[in-house]
């Protein structure tokens, strides 16, 4: 029995290695001054590319844009998903498969089809090239993720507490503040984190709706990776990962304070 547990552990451990190894290689690439075939580790380590990247005038604006878009998308998505998830969790008219269908439709329909077609629509309303337009399309893309998590949280929460408080004469806002929110906080935190990450890594919606005027990190990353500029692309990837971690950390802080 002991041996078989060790065997399971070893298999899971090797899965972990397969996952971590590429990330280490990515980090090594970002600081490699010279790393030519067939060397297994960089022949020269320097931070020239990273300096070069930071001195690029587009560097800080692209980070700022990414943060502004991802945080606005997080707020908008939660504002839309919280009430909608509440409704779907406690309604009795629709079967769970129908609710799933409505929520997952944006994941089923090809993103590129929706983005390219809605570009015409957004052009008409002068939303292309604006932050509002990008946030709207990002919210559309991220809503299924937020809905999935919040729906599950509401279902676990149940309606009992709400109804009890209501029958005791509590006002809806009071109920939300003292009962629903404290119990729902974890779910909201997870949903916010996921939406932030998904929005942060969007390329196509930003490209088509932003019309190339609003530059985010993925829009810099993709061309560099495509042109085989591995060192620069890796540096941007590391910046990207650090930014996501900072974003997630800030979200955690906000959720803890409330």
């Amino acid at each position: 029995m002991k041996l078989s547990i060790n065997k399971w552990y070893a298999s899971l451990f090797s899965f972990g290695i397969i996952i971590v190894l590429p990330i280490i290689v990515l980090a090594l690439w970002s600081v490699s001054g010279k790393w030519i075939f067939p060397a297994l580790i960089p022949q020269k380590v320097d931070f020239n590319t990273i300096k070069h990247m930071i001195n690029d005038p587009i560097f800080f604006p692209s980070i700022l844009n990414s943060f502004v878009i991802a945080s606005s998308t997080t707020v908008t998505s939660l504002a839309i998903a919280l009430p909608a998830a509440r409704y779907f969790a406690f309604q009795k008219d629709l079967s769970s498969r129908v609710v799933e269908g409505v929520i997952y439709l944006p994941l089923i329909l090809p993103a590129i089809a929706i983005v390219t077609s809605s570009q015409i629509l957004f052009l008409k309303f002068h939303l292309t090239g604006t932050f509002l337009g990008i946030v709207l399309i990002h919210t559309y893309v991220c809503l299924p993720y937020a809905m999935q998590i919040l729906l599950e949280s509401y279902r676990q929460l149940g309606e009992g507490y709400y109804l009890t408080a209501q029958s005791l004469g509590a006002k809806p806002w009071y109920i939300f503040h003292h009962i629903t929110w404290p119990l729902l906080k974890n779910g909201v935190g997870t949903a916010a984190t996921l939406v932030f990450i998904v929005s942060f890594s969007q390329y196509l919606p930003t490209f088509f709706i932003g019309g190339g005027q609003i530059i985010t990190l993925p829009m810099l990353l993709l061309p560099y990776a495509n042109n085989g500029r591995l060192v620069l692309a890796s540096s941007y990837s590391i910046v990207f990962l650090i930014c996501t971690l900072i974003g997630v950390f800030i979200l955690k802080l906000i959720m803890r304070r409330k």
Partner: protein
């Protein structure tokens, strides 16, 4: 009651405006109504062209091949990984396994280049070990026709996603059923078909639909790792739209619609299968 329905209004409005209005525009243009370049007569010629031209047909088939292979392998391996996670309760390993879920596809594609390209780490390791004598002997795993690089990126991203989702279901279910069945003498195959499959199949079908549709339509990964001569359908649309010539745009929108219909048909088939599998009817 009506007041409660108001809660869901912003959600419905955003989704339906984007989906219905956008696809309506897409259908309009693909049917040849494109006043911007003076086209106003409705015609099916774009669809006819897109569905008969061998280049478009090939990219459609190629996308289906990539999506099906990646999805089925992810479901199978992700399912196995879920059981592994259930057996080994190491929170560090659990966190590491769920790491790829939050990595963006562009970065994973970049990691694939650094790992499995001809000058990648694995090739270098083979060289150092004397398995290959020169760089060209390492097989082409990136920009290749079978799409190894693309598939590996999706597997790296999707196996943990499947595993974590299935694990959540497994933890909710009462594993006691399996113990009982086994102590009553049920074989592993029997346990799988009468207990596990009915309990898991709805989740697996949902995962299949989401993963298939995502992989089928994904742009970044085939853009970075795909074979130049074999574009996926999303790449074809992107190419048609980035041309300055507006005349090819209706074809791109026809492809958009064809793509959406393929996704809806696959979803419908998967849901129908789910109904006829054990455990499917109960929920209706």
């Amino acid at each position: 009651m009506n007041k409660k329905k108001l809660l869901v209004l912003p959600f419905i409005i955003l989704n339906s405006v984007v989906i219905i209005a956008a696809l309506f525009k897409g259908v309009q243009v693909s049917l040849g109504y494109y006043p911007l370049i003076g086209l106003k007569r409705l015609t099916l010629i774009n669809y006819q062209y897109v569905l008969t031209n061998s280049f478009f047909k090939e990219s459609l088939v190629y996308s289906c091949y990539l999506a099906l292979t990646a999805t089925l392998l992810s479901l199978f391996l992700g399912g196995l990984l879920a059981f592994l996670l259930l057996k080994v309760k190491s929170s560090v390993l659990h966190t590491i396994i769920s790491l790829p879920i939050s990595l963006p596809h562009i970065i994973v594609a970049l990691m694939a280049m650094q790992l499995i390209s001809q000058s990648g780490i694995i090739s270098r390791l083979f060289y150092q070990l004397g398995i290959i004598q020169e760089i060209g002997e390492f097989p082409l795993l990136i920009h290749d026709v079978p799409g190894c690089g693309i598939l590996l990126v999706f597997l790296y991203k999707e196996i943990p996603y499947v595993a974590v989702t299935v694990l959540a279901i497994l933890l909710q279910l009462k594993m006691g059923y399996i113990e009982v069945a086994k102590s009553l003498g049920a074989s592993s195959i029997r346990v799988f078909f009468t207990i596990l499959l009915p309990m898991l199949q709805k989740t697996l079908i949902t995962l299949f639909i989401i993963l298939f549709c995502f992989t089928f339509a994904s742009f970044e990964v085939p853009y970075l790792l795909g074979s130049p001569g074999h574009p996926t359908i999303a790449l074809t649309i992107y190419d048609l739209l980035s041309q300055s010539d507006l005349i090819t745009r209706p074809q791109a929108f026809a492809l958009d619609i064809v793509m959406s219909i393929v996704c809806l048909i696959v979803t419908f088939i998967a849901l129908t299968c789910s109904r006829f599998l054990p455990g499917g009817r109960k929920t209706f």
